[in-house]
């Protein structure tokens, strides 16, 4: 199942991307997802042919290696081989914040409901999970407030506080 986050709304979508396994031939669907090494070898040709290309990054792959290609990529899939491996959170934040990637950032692998809020806050907007979209949305929004600025651009507590203080001052003024 693939859940997409669009305009603050979580919903199920059809996955139009075909994953290409290691050693497999590239399907002739329009949209494919390749591993980083496959992409580095064959991506250029696919992009030139006008295909939609996504790259699947293992936790140890460095997002720095994608910088030049990011504007042409449809999506970056970040793999969680085990949910406890948190490297993909930093990759996601860097894609969004450091490199300004605005394509899809997809969570794949061991994608569990208890990490929904981490993923959303770090800038993921697509989730390959067996959880339904409503349950996913509820888990992602479990906390009414957040303490830090992150890639989801929710206002952190200190912004909420200063806004509240300003409102109060305006009322009193």
């Amino acid at each position: 199942m693939l859940i997409r986050l669009e305009n603050d709304h979580f919903h199920l979508v059809e996955d139009r991307f075909a994953p290409v396994g290691e050693g497999e031939a590239i399907a002739d669907t329009v949209a494919v997802i390749l591993s980083l090494s496959r992409f580095q070898a064959e991506g250029e040709a696919l992009l030139a042919a006008g295909r939609d290309v996504g790259v699947r990054m293992a936790p140890a792959d460095r997002v720095e290696d994608l910088i030049c290609d990011l504007p042409r990529l449809a999506l970056v899939a970040l793999d969680f081989p085990k949910y406890r491996d948190g490297r993909a959170y930093s990759s996601a934040v860097m894609l969004r914040e450091t490199y300004g990637f605005d394509g899809e950032v997809r969570a794949v692998g061991d994608v569990l409901i208890d990490q929904a809020w981490n993923m959303v806050r770090c800038g993921f907007d697509a989730f390959e999970t067996s959880v339904g979209p409503n349950a996913w949305a509820a888990a992602a929004r479990r906390y009414r407030h957040v303490y830090q600025a992150s890639a989801d651009h929710r206002p952190p507590a200190f912004v909420e506080r200063s806004q509240a203080a300003r409102r109060l001052a305006a009322q009193e003024g």
Binding site: P59, R62, Y83, R84, D85, G86, R87, Y89, S90, S91, V93, M94, E97, T98, D114, Q115, W117, N118, M119, R121, C122, R142, Y143, R144, H145, V146, Y147, Q148, A149, S150, A157, F158, E160, R161, S162
Partner: protein
């Protein structure tokens, strides 16, 4: 004392609601133990040797009387009438039921307490100076910065699944009471020549299997950039720290393998790439947090208290004043240290009655503040010297007036095999035996400062690596044995201790300590602490004394 606002309270309430739901899903069978275990750990609930243990965070070791009473209530209502203060300035309850935990957490929340991030591979409770706001030599109140870090690290989305746990210490005094150099990150706040506040940033210290003293990667990070720079360090660690081997996953291993200079370069690179104004805390929020601590309304008193001086006519009080009370930044006040190391007692344990008595004394004589030290003692940071005799009497009435701070019987001991499922050997009975050996307070004072630290396994929760004398429990052919190390320090002169020789059986440890102390007394020079003598002479004379009769063992 920091006060929650509605947002802080909502954060804890949301977390407690989530955990209540997770507990009920576990009890109804919807979650398996494998799925549930990491969730309960993230809420501080461990399954130990005999039972569940709940670890409650005491942010930067600061308690109010109300919080202390809440802990007493938990001990009495849901546990067996006591709690255990840890080397991380937290408290552990050793007999909590899983089915009670949601109620316990809701109750704790009413006193602004929680168990969030007291376990798991996340950023843990920040260690800080128990003398904060009271020590004359501090350049700023380190609690303010610890609270900044508490908020930033709570439910940090990027840093909840780090390679391993992560501990930060903040101190603002030249005297380090936090073991900053033995933390993943140690922050030492100073003013530079222009008077600007900045942090010395120390990275990669730690204990465990491979102990390291941290390396300084920045001499003076402007204080206003604390959060962006911490984010940079954590990002480098999260990305490149090892995840293939539990024992090599702490940041100390990354820093050691890259070298401090290369680690610093990577951190700087990550820092440069960051949108810093967005990552750093705005000045108004810093000012708000500072104000949330409120001001202690000290009285204007003469520096010398006649009542205090007169009370020293009583030998017991005089001894207590000598060993447990240190000068305060405000004239006429003292910092009263409360030892949880009564002779033959369990280091760090405190009964519900004692907690309540302390809460009362703090309220009556100490502006309602209590601190927990990483050496498992408590502190009443603001006591007028005039009131010290009354405080002493109140402490004595509940068995808390042991006058042994920094002395040989003021030991750190982890719970060891009496509670901990990971232990190789017991730690507490060893501490008890040593403290009985040095029960004579005159001898203890003659020996002077001596820090003994005991761990029940190589995880080193008892900080044995940085003990002047460290004791590590090992399993040798199915028996409890203890390896001694000498020369460690967790203070500003931080060092890792050296192994003295082959491990000793349990019944020989206290005697060996006795011999080490005798050697020290025989060869020390004026003003030398045990540690200084060891550093001067090396291991030779100490080793000879302990192992001279080894062939008889």
């Amino acid at each position: 004392m920091f006060q929650y606002d509605a947002i802080d309270a909502a954060m804890v309430a949301d977390r407690n609601a989530e955990f209540r739901d997770q507990v009920s899903r576990r009890l109804s069978g919807e979650l398996t133990e494998d799925q549930f275990k990491p969730l309960r750990l993230m809420n501080g609930l461990y399954l130990q040797l005999h039972s569940y243990m709940l670890r409650v965070a005491i942010p930067y070791g600061a308690l109010s009387s109300a919080k202390m009473r809440a802990l007493a209530h938990v001990a009495r209502r849901w546990d067996r009438g006591y709690g255990h203060f840890t080397t991380r300035q937290n408290i552990q309850f050793h007999w909590i039921k899983l089915s009670d935990t949601p109620d316990v957490l809701d109750y704790l929340a009413t006193a602004e307490l929680h168990a969030i991030q007291t376990s798991g591979n996340c950023i843990r409770n920040t260690t800080s100076d128990p003398f904060a706001g009271a020590a004359a030599e501090e350049v700023d109140d380190p609690r303010v910065w610890s609270e900044v870090i508490r908020q930033w690290s709570t439910f940090h989305p990027e840093f909840t699944y780090l390679p391993r746990k992560f501990k930060i210490a903040v101190t603002a005094s030249p005297r380090d009471r936090t073991a900053a150099r033995a933390h993943d990150i140690g922050l030492v706040l100073r003013r530079n020549r222009e008077g600007r506040l900045g942090f010395e940033v120390i990275v990669g210290g730690g204990m465990g299997r491979t102990p390291y003293i941290g390396a300084t990667i920045r001499e003076h990070l402007p204080a206003e950039h604390l959060l962006s720079y911490l984010t940079a360090i954590l990002r480098v660690y999260n990305r490149f720290g090892r995840r293939d081997n539990l024992y090599k996953a702490r940041i100390k291993i990354l820093v050691a393998s890259l070298g401090a200079a290369e680690f610093a370069r990577l951190a700087d690179e990550a820092w440069e790439a960051m949108d810093r104004p967005r990552a750093d805390l705005p000045d108004v929020e810093l000012a708000r947090i500072r104000a949330s601590f409120g001001l202690v309304d000290f009285r204007t008193l003469p520096p010398r208290s006649e009542r205090f001086e007169a009370a020293k006519g009583d030998k017991a009080f005089a001894r207590f004043a000598r060993n447990n009370i240190v000068p305060h930044k405000v004239p006429g006040y003292g910092i009263v240290q409360v030892s949880l190391k009564g002779i033959g007692e369990v280091p760090g344990d405190c009964t519900a009655d004692q907690m309540e008595a302390l809460a009362d004394l703090a309220e009556r004589y100490g502006h309602g503040e209590i601190r927990v030290t990483h050496e498992q003692n408590l502190v009443l940071p603001h006591v007028a010297l005039d009131d010290a005799p009354a405080v002493h009497a109140g402490l004595a009435a509940v068995g808390l007036a042991t006058p042994n701070i920094n002395l040989v019987s003021d030991m750190i001991a982890c719970p060891g095999l009496d509670y901990c499922a990971l232990a190789n050997a017991r730690a507490i009975p060893i501490a008890q035996a040593i403290s009985e050996t040095f029960a004579d307070p005159d001898r203890a004072e003659q020996v002077g400062e001596l820090k003994i630290k005991i761990s029940g396994c190589i995880n080193a929760c008892g900080h044995h690596h940085v003990g002047h004398i460290g004791i590590l429990g090992v399993d040798k052919k199915g028996e409890e044995y203890y390896q001694l190390t000498l020369g460690g320090s967790g203070a500003e002169d931080a060092a890792i201790g050296h192994v003295l020789g082959p491990a000793l059986s349990a019944d020989r440890v206290a005697d060996a300590i006795d011999k080490l102390v005798d050697v020290y007394l025989a060869i020390r020079q004026p003003q030398e602490r045990f540690l200084d003598t060891y550093r001067r002479t090396g291991v030779g004379p100490f080793k000879a004394a302990v192992y001279q009769d080894a062939h008889q063992a």
